[in-house]
Symmetry: C2
Subunit: 162 residues, 2 copies
C-alpha cells in the first residue's frame, strides 16, 4: 500500500495524455538511463547523463545541458517503484532519503509518474507536487506543461525506434 499524494490544483501541476505506445515501453523509457538521456530534456536542451538506482531510497540523477552547453545537474531520491505502473521521486530528499540543503531560488518537488494501459496505448499522467503555491507558479512559468509534453513526445519517438 502507498498513500499517493492527492492532487491539489493550487499547489500541483499535472500533464495527462494518452500516447500510442505500450505501457511497458513507457516504463522502460523512464527507468533505463540509456533511454532517459534520449528523451528527458526538451530539445534544444539535452541530457548529458543519467543514473538511476531503481528502488526506494535510490538515486535519481540527471544532468541537463542548455543549448549553450551549461550543465544543470539534479539529484533526487526515488520513493516508490511499482513495476510498470508508478514511479515516484523527489528533489526534496537526496539518495538514501537524506534531506537536501536547498539553494536559493530553487524549489523542491515530487514527481509522480503513472502509467496505465489504455487500449493499445498508454494513459500517461505526470504530476509535480509542490510545497506551496509560489513553487507551483515558478514551475508553471518555467514551462512545466510544455516542457514535459515535449519530453513525452520525445519519449514516444525514442521507444518507437526500439
Amino acid at each position: 500500500m502507498t498513500a499517493y499524494p492527492s492532487v491539489n490544483p493550487d499547489l500541483d501541476l499535472v500533464l495527462e495524455r494518452t500516447v500510442d505506445v505500450a505501457p511497458e515501453l513507457v516504463w522502460r523509457a523512464w527507468t533505463t538511463p540509456e533511454l532517459v538521456v534520449r528523451w528527458f530534456a526538451p530539445k534544444p536542451w539535452s541530457t548529458s547523463s543519467c543514473e538511476i538506482d531503481l528502488q526506494p531510497g535510490g538515486r535519481f540523477h540527471t544532468v541537463m545541458r542548455s543549448p549553450e552547453g551549461t550543465e544543470y545537474p539534479s539529484t533526487g531520491c526515488i520513493l516508490v517503484v511499482e513495476e510498470g505502473r508508478t514511479l515516484v521521486f523527489t528533489s526534496g530528499l537526496g539518495p538514501g532519503f537524506r534531506p537536501q540543503v536547498g539553494t536559493d531560488g530553487d524549489f523542491p518537488f515530487t514527481a509522480v509518474i503513472r502509467i496505465e494501459r489504455s487500449g493499445n496505448g498508454t494513459k500517461y499522467t505526470a504530476t509535480a507536487i509542490h510545497a506551496d503555491a509560489s513553487a507551483k507558479q515558478s514551475h508553471e512559468k518555467m514551462g512545466f506543461v510544455e516542457g514535459w509534453g515535449t519530453a513525452l513526445d520525445q519519449l514516444v519517438e525514442t521507444v518507437r525506434g526500439l
Copy 2:
C-alpha cells in the same frame, strides 16, 4: 529492495542499544498511536496526540507538549514500512510525499528505526539523517542521544506493562 541511507558520522546521529523486550513489542510501540503517546516524548515533556498512517507516503504526526504546556506539532511522511523490522520517516516531506515549507531555525531529518532480534531482546538502532553538519550539530545540542535514550526507556516500560 530499499537503498538504506549509509550513516555518515559527520552528518548523522545514532542511538544503538539492546533492550530486553521482544522486537514485536518495540514495533508495536512505534506504530500504534495509543502507545506512541505513552513513551515518545522524554519526561517531563509529554505527547498530547499522535496519528500514524502506516504506509509509504502516509502521515506521521505527533504533538509534543512542554512542561509549561506549550504544544509543538510535527508532521512528517512515512517512507519505508518493513513490518517488524524497519520504519523510516522524514520531516523533509509531508504526507503524500509533498515537499514541506521550511521554517526558520528548523532542520529536516529522516529517522531510520531498525529493530532486530537479539537473544530474547531487541537490538534497537535509531538513526537521524541530516542534510548537513550544522543540522546534525543542532540536533546533537538539542540532546538527541539523551532524549531518544530516555524515550526508549519509556518505550520499554510501556510495552512491559502490556
